[in-house]
Symmetry: C2
Subunit: 197 residues, 2 copies
């Protein structure tokens, strides 16, 4: 019997570097897949439909939501985001690990439905650094940046809901820590079948 | 304030390869120390007093035990083994990680006194392989080997008391798994001081 894959939920305040960490992780790891989220927001420069996100119309998104097709969904700054459930479950059953990069609302929903998932909270080294990173991205208006920073400082309080917290000070080290967490979780007794007879 | 060190308890049936894994780990890791056990058994070929074990007389061992000087102690095959408590605590308070390589009885005692320690169960890939390893060591009589094998197969039932189980199939991979466990445990929210203000 194939050992079931791990569902790894990478979450944390916007601007903490979740996306960069996940991209690096997928480049390095072999048997790990990205769960692609569906969203109603417009693509940012360079983002591809079906690769970075499933870019859906509001109508299509809500139709799927009403069919319970999402593992979690949320409305953030007026846009909808969701994780199509079927695809994730198929991969886990095949023994593939799946990474979900989602905001905190989404992570908390998953925690209720999938308590066996691994919840990793990515934090910036400081709020000052977070502000710098959001500004550097240059895609958001001043008002959106202010909102993001305010909500980030509140969101940090959710850290205790998570299994692990990874401080994203140096990218390579943060990625190594996430890899170590995945390796360690595969050594949990309840995930192992040990038969000696 | 220095973050407190981790107490890492490496345990499992005799012959699973605990000692080899710990030696390799200490060679690779920087800020990690071995807790040296006290014992009343005679040194094996090449073992040094104060390095591999504190070799004590039965009288001295029991005197310290009665002074509550051990974090755990046990009588195994007629010999006493114990972990001097003071040394371990001093190192943890300095921020040094401490590895304890002990049998299952000892690990269960530590679990009661130090639930915040990390409990790792090392298992051989199979009972056949365990028998081969014990025979290869060539230091034990046939009767002792039989006893060890019998108790090993019973001891494997304790795996669920542990936080992690590491199958010692390929030494380097087993060591990497233990390192990953240590890295991951340092990312636990309750071990971290995160202040953003």
């Amino acid at each position: 019997m194939t050992e079931k894959g791990l569902l790894i939920v990478v979450s944390g305040p916007s601007g903490a570097g979740k996306g960069t960490i996940c991209k690096q992780l997928l480049k390095d790891a072999k048997k790990i897949n990205y769960s692609i989220s569906a969203t109603t927001r417009l693509p940012r420069k360079g983002e591809q439909d079906g690769k970075d996100y499933l870019f859906l119309t509001r109508e299509k998104f809500l139709e799927m939501r009403d069919d319970s097709a999402y593992l979690e969904w949320a409305e953030v700054y007026g846009n909808f985001y969701g994780t199509p459930q079927k695809n994730v479950e198929e991969q886990l059953n095949k023994g593939t690990d799946v990474i979900l990069e989602i905001d905190i609302q989404g992570a908390l929903q998953i925690k209720k439905k999938f308590p066996e998932a691994i919840f990793i909270f990515i934090v910036p080294p400081s709020l000052e650094e977070l502000a710098t990173r959001i500004n550097r991205r240059g895609t958001d208006s001043r008002e959106v940046i202010r909102k993001r920073l305010h909500s980030a400082s509140k969101e940090l309080e959710y850290v205790s809901e998570y299994d692990y917290v990874v401080i994203n000070d140096v990218l390579d080290m943060a990625v190594e820590r996430v890899k170590a967490i995945i390796t360690a979780e595969k050594c949990r007794p309840h995930r192992k079948q040990i038969n000696f007879n």
